[in-house]
């Protein structure tokens, strides 16, 4: 690349899409969107769109996979064929299988598995549209869906991506930033109450200082994600309460 067409990933404190260095893309979460599932959630995070369904705890079959001491978490991360610019093969690839494994393990840390021996909790994640950071979006949505299913948990799982583009440590990278020549991409998932890290992957190289800075950013980001998740869950109650007030008012008149 010539020096001329070098992209400024951060200019005057603003990024390519006008965000600040420590600003998330807008998040919208809705809980309980699927009627037939035990729990479900729909999440929009920037351009990412994720639909999650949770079933269970239910008897794990075939019987030999059952664990008499705890429940299994079967996390299924799949990308829709139309979720990327070029059509994606619907066959689960290396990447999807890996993400399913690590994300499932992240959720396992949060769920009280020992209360449901010999069972499985199935989490099905479908990525409908993607623009970098789908695994953190999926994980955040999945924990909302689990809470919606009434599965006992130690905490919600909040996840966020941090990284580096153009030499600057930034929060919640989008696709353009992820494709920077010096890009580092680091998805992190935390239990917000204890700050316990349940998922951490990294692609690229950080210096020690950059690492420390990015961890601070990630913590901040996770807190914001947690707020969005909490609001989504609380909304279910508040809506019913509003309806009640309306009907009471109508009754007074």
């Amino acid at each position: 690349m010539k020096k001329k067409d070098k992209v400024d990933y951060v200019k005057n404190g603003k990024r390519l899409d006008g965000r600040k260095v420590d600003e998330l893309r807008p998040i919208k979460i809705e809980a309980g969107v699927l009627q037939r599932a035990d729990g479900s959630a729909y999440l929009e995070w920037g351009q990412n769109k994720v639909l999650v369904a949770v079933y269970g705890p239910r008897e794990a079959l075939p019987k030999h996979i059952q664990n008499p001491y705890r429940a299994l978490v079967n996390y299924n991360y799949r990308m829709a064929t139309f979720s990327v610019p070029d059509r994606k093969s619907p066959k689960p690839g290396r990447r999807e299988i890996e993400i399913s494994k690590v994300s499932g393990e992240a959720l396992e840390r949060a769920i009280f598995l020992e209360r449901f021996p010999n069972t499985t909790i199935d989490v099905f994640v479908e990525i409908l549209d993607s623009n970098a950071g789908t695994r953190v979006a999926a994980l955040s949505a999945a924990s909302v869906a689990l809470a919606d299913a009434g599965i006992p948990m130690r905490d919600l799982v909040s996840a966020v991506g941090v990284g580096k583009a153009g030499g600057e440590v930034i929060l919640d990278l989008n696709k353009a930033e992820e494709d920077a020549p010096d890009a580092v991409d680091m998805p992190i998932a935390m239990l917000p109450r204890t700050k316990e890290i349940v998922l951490l992957q990294m692609d690229g190289l950080f210096t020690k200082k950059e690492w420390q800075k990015s961890m601070k950013l990630a913590e901040k980001g996770c807190e914001q994600v947690y707020e969005a998740q909490r609001e989504a869950l609380r909304k279910k109650f508040l809506e019913a309460e509003k309806e009640d007030k309306k009907s009471k008012k109508a009754g007074d008149q």
């Binding site: 008897e59 010999n118 809470a147 009434g150 130690r154 917000p192 609380r234 279910k236 109650f237």
Partner: protein, 213 residues
Amino acid sequence: MEKETRRKKIVVPGELVTEERKRIGSHVFVDEGKVYADSLGISYPDSSTASVVPLHGKYIPGRNDLIVGIISNETFNSYIVDINSIYHSFISKDSVRHELKRGSIISAIIQNVDEINEADLEDIRVFFGGEVIEVSPVKVPRIIGKNGSMLNVLKDNTGCNLIVGRNGWVWAKDGNLGLLVKAIRLIERESHLSDLTNKVEAFLKDEKGETKK
């Protein structure tokens, strides 16, 4: 009757319920001396027990629960009963006088639950006819009400015979079943609001009045 003034707080999993020393109720856990919620629900900060009333959840059998079950299969000397939980239960053919088929409805009391949540049943009663209405198991206490107050309202105003299973299955026969289902859906939808019994009673009388017109 519940008072309107009772303070309540919506909690999500992992949210602090109380820092005080209180009796530990259901759907909470203790970490470093503080009490946290383990599911999405409502906690009452003024109550002497720290507990959460969950919004959703699966039925986990408990001892002495009255449940409604449906026969799902038959073996040489037993019936397999679906009790809307993680596992099915068994009843011996010797314990029922009638011949049952797939889809027969029974009620039973849970005699014992083992460490993997499988339940043994006793006191089996067989129902002929009627319907099973599905509700969320966590809402069952609201359908029964304090000392059965809600149940009486439902029975009196719809004329149905009712058995409410703790597992979220309600057996109903005779009377105005359509109205009963409507009332139960109302209870389910607004189960976290106070003064529900009066509201349901008003709703039922209202509906009945309209049909008479």
